[in-house]
Symmetry: C2
Subunit: 237 residues, 2 copies
């Protein structure tokens, strides 16, 4: 390896710096509908308009750190599924100033969500089919995030991040039906899921949606990781 330079080289000094932001597309599932966490801005510019939550990236943090900070400040949650979506860098995308935005999408367990913070920051869960217009290019980010969610959920078990850690199979099926905007046959869905060998059945039942009750399951991350190293391809679709 070449030796490490100790001073900032001149051509670094000549380069012009830019504003860098992160914006988070936050998905949640309440057992019925797929939702997005947005907020109503209090400050200008765009006061009273709806926006994704975001922030400028500080020099002392990575973009992931920035996204985690934003998520924590607006939701009170720490460890959430968080993945990069895309960079939005059209030079006129933000009339405030030249600013590139790194969009991240996050999956959140709605149950864990703190109501108090929701009020403090004017955040709202809104169903995807009744979203208001969002500021700047945020609408576009949402469209892209949805596509990405579909693509990703087809081959990775990320849907489980949207459910409580203990979930029932009908719950999971409803989620998949929301994400993929189509229905699944309950027998085939269950059969496929169980044949993948990555969920374990618990002895408890959830009785909140039926009198008979439905067995709870847990996703087995260890087993999944072992299998996928061996070339196993997760898919429920």
């Amino acid at each position: 390896m070449p030796k490490k330079s100790t001073e900032v080289p001149t051509y670094y000094q000549q380069a012009e710096k830019l504003l860098v932001a992160v914006d988070c597309i936050i998905f949640g599932f309440d057992g019925e509908k797929l939702k997005l966490l947005i907020f109503k801005r209090k400050l200008e510019p765009f006061a009273d308009a709806y926006s994704l939550i975001g922030s400028f990236v500080h020099p002392s943090e990575s973009t992931v750190d920035a996204a985690r900070r934003v998520l924590h400040d607006f939701t009170g949650l720490e460890a959430i599924f968080l993945e990069e979506l895309k960079v939005y860098s059209q030079i006129d995308r933000d009339p405030g100033d030249r600013c590139i935005s790194i969009a991240k999408y996050a999956l959140i367990r709605v149950n864990d969500y703190h109501k108090a913070l929701s009020d403090r920051y004017n955040t709202e869960w809104v169903a995807l089919d009744s979203l208001p217009n969002l500021v700047l290019d945020h609408d576009h980010m949402v469209t892209d995030a949805l596509e990405q969610l579909k693509r990703k959920a087809q081959f990775y078990p990320i849907g489980f991040e949207l459910l409580p850690k203990k979930f029932t199979i009908p719950m999971l099926q409803r989620l998949y039906e929301e994400i993929f905007e189509r229905n699944f046959d309950a027998r085939n869905f269950r059969k496929k899921l169980l044949s993948l060998n990555v969920v374990k059945q618990l002895s408890e039942k959830d009785k909140s949606t039926s009198k008979k009750g439905s067995f709870l399951y847990q996703f087995d991350y260890k087993k999944y990781n072992r299998l996928s190293e061996k070339g196993f391809q997760f898919s429920l679709v």
Copy 2:
């Protein structure tokens, strides 16, 4: 929509700006091996070390513009497949200065590549299995780009961007074997490809690799686009 603000709001002014770079992972296929275009740096820091090609993003251009500019300057080519990989933003990733890098991967038709520019800029095509160490986190970028190439090539016909516009089926198969690091059965590969209905056979033959000669084909982008709008899923793997 809220009214457009005419002055830069204060909290934009308070935010600290960052250096933003693009780095390009450029894949090529010479008919035999999958290769990467890298260059030997002439300037400090890291003079004589190998690096991906890249540049700082100018305030007057989007990150895609910057990547296109870099690609053009180093290869002389205009329209190349170019897609975002990932943002690298560890605060200490570049000892020169705090700098986030947006990695893009590109697929290039090696035949089109201009030899003159290669000499001018010290660029080299290097087979993936004999890459030298690269500066900064560029090794990591290459690993990630390869994974992404595999993922993407599995369900999108991007492999064709690495071949001449007119190609033979055995050529395509060799490319796929390189990308996926496994062999395919020639009969099944051909059958599957033709059943997808997205390549058209030409009357010409390519005789460069055999005495018998092999029919040339062309990818039919119009047909592919029409099909994929209807939910058709491209896959050769």
